[in-house]
């Protein structure tokens, strides 16, 4: 698929290099939090196989941290599974937004791509596709590779020796995720409707977060904010 609103650049190598650099930022942050997650999982009673398998199969940091906390407090599996579904519902939006770009790939490849469609993979890939004006499978797998390999690896290392590392928040690594997401949102906001959608998304996340909690409000923001963009788009259309 090509997007006429994107500004294509001729040098895909340069675009992939920028993608890898941004992915490295995520990977450093993910490594720090992977270590912390591994340590937290061990303290909650997870073996290295249990902690690492969760990072391989679920591949969703927020849900995994929540699961570890709930297991530590003796919560039942059904409650953990329901919370996981709630926390990961936003991935439906990622998949829907990526579908037009990846629709031409084989079913098997799409099935594999779906497993690694995390926050980071989505943000990096979509910005990359829009930048070059078309889907780039190599770019997708580069984005996905950093995340889906480093997270389980550093989970295992965290179980083994996570107590040896300092708190990632002390090093400022907790700001990597929001900074990168905000920056990638800006890169996607190339016209007035997209800017309106981004501003509405941020506002809904904050206001909704105060009212109902951030996990729900982020999903709500993702669903509703594009409507603000559509309204702006409609306002800009010539009257008939």
């Amino acid at each position: 698929m090509t997007d006429p609103s994107a500004t294509p650049i001729p040098d895909i190598t340069a675009a992939r290099r920028d993608l890898v650099l941004a992915a490295l930022g995520f990977a450093v942050s993910g490594a720090g939090f992977g270590l912390v997650y591994g340590l937290a999982a061990r303290e909650a009673g997870f073996s290295i196989i249990e902690a690492t398998s969760m990072s391989v199969f679920v591949l969703a940091g927020a849900a995994q941290f929540a699961a570890v906390g709930l297991v530590a407090h003796g919560a039942g599996w059904p409650a953990i599974v329901v919370l996981t579904a709630l926390l990961n519902a936003r991935h439906l939006l990622y998949s829907a937004a990526m579908a037009p770009w990846l629709g031409g790939r084989s079913r098997l490849e799409r099935a594999a791509m779906a497993h690694v469609l995390t926050d980071e993979t989505f943000a990096l890939s979509l910005a990359h596709f829009q930048r070059i004006g078309r889907a780039d499978v190599v770019g997708f797998w580069l984005a996905a590779g950093f995340d889906s390999i480093s997270w389980p690896v550093f989970t295992a290392l965290g179980v083994i020796g996570g107590q040896l590392i300092p708190d990632p928040a002390q090093l400022g690594l907790d700001v990597v995720f929001p900074a990168a997401m905000g920056g990638l949102a800006v890169k996607l906001a190339t016209d007035r409707p997209a800017i309106a959608a981004a501003i509405a998304g941020a506002a809904l996340a904050v206001v909704g977060g105060i009212l109902v909690g951030p996990a729900v409000s982020i999903v709500v923001g993702g669903f509703l904010a594009p409507i603000a963009g559509l309204l702006i788009e409609r306002k800009g259309e010539p009257a008939r």
């Binding site: 920028d18 398998s53 799409r110 905000g182 959608a197 998304g201 977060g209 951030p214």
Partner: protein, 110 residues
Amino acid sequence: MTVQLVGLALLMAAVTYPFRALPLFAPTKDRLPAIVQRYLRLVGPAILAALAAGNTAFAEDAAGHNVFHVGIEWIAVALAVALIAWRGNVFFGIVAAVVMVAVGRAVMGA
């Protein structure tokens, strides 16, 4: 070494995967109505901005609850966004934000 929680991991994966997969197997762009295509184009900036704001404005308190929070992270994220908008380099923006937060916390914690 215990492996019982691998079952929990598989159940968590089983409820996560459909969210990630189902739309990828839905009709492709050419068969979607124009309004849906325009909506989907706006999902990216909307959800990424929501994630950025949600992860900046809320922090865990001592009891593990997410509470509204104003701190140096707001300035750091704004700085990153401004730098990325200006230079187009995400890595550069991330590094600037991390340095600002690390230095800010070191100074304030000192």
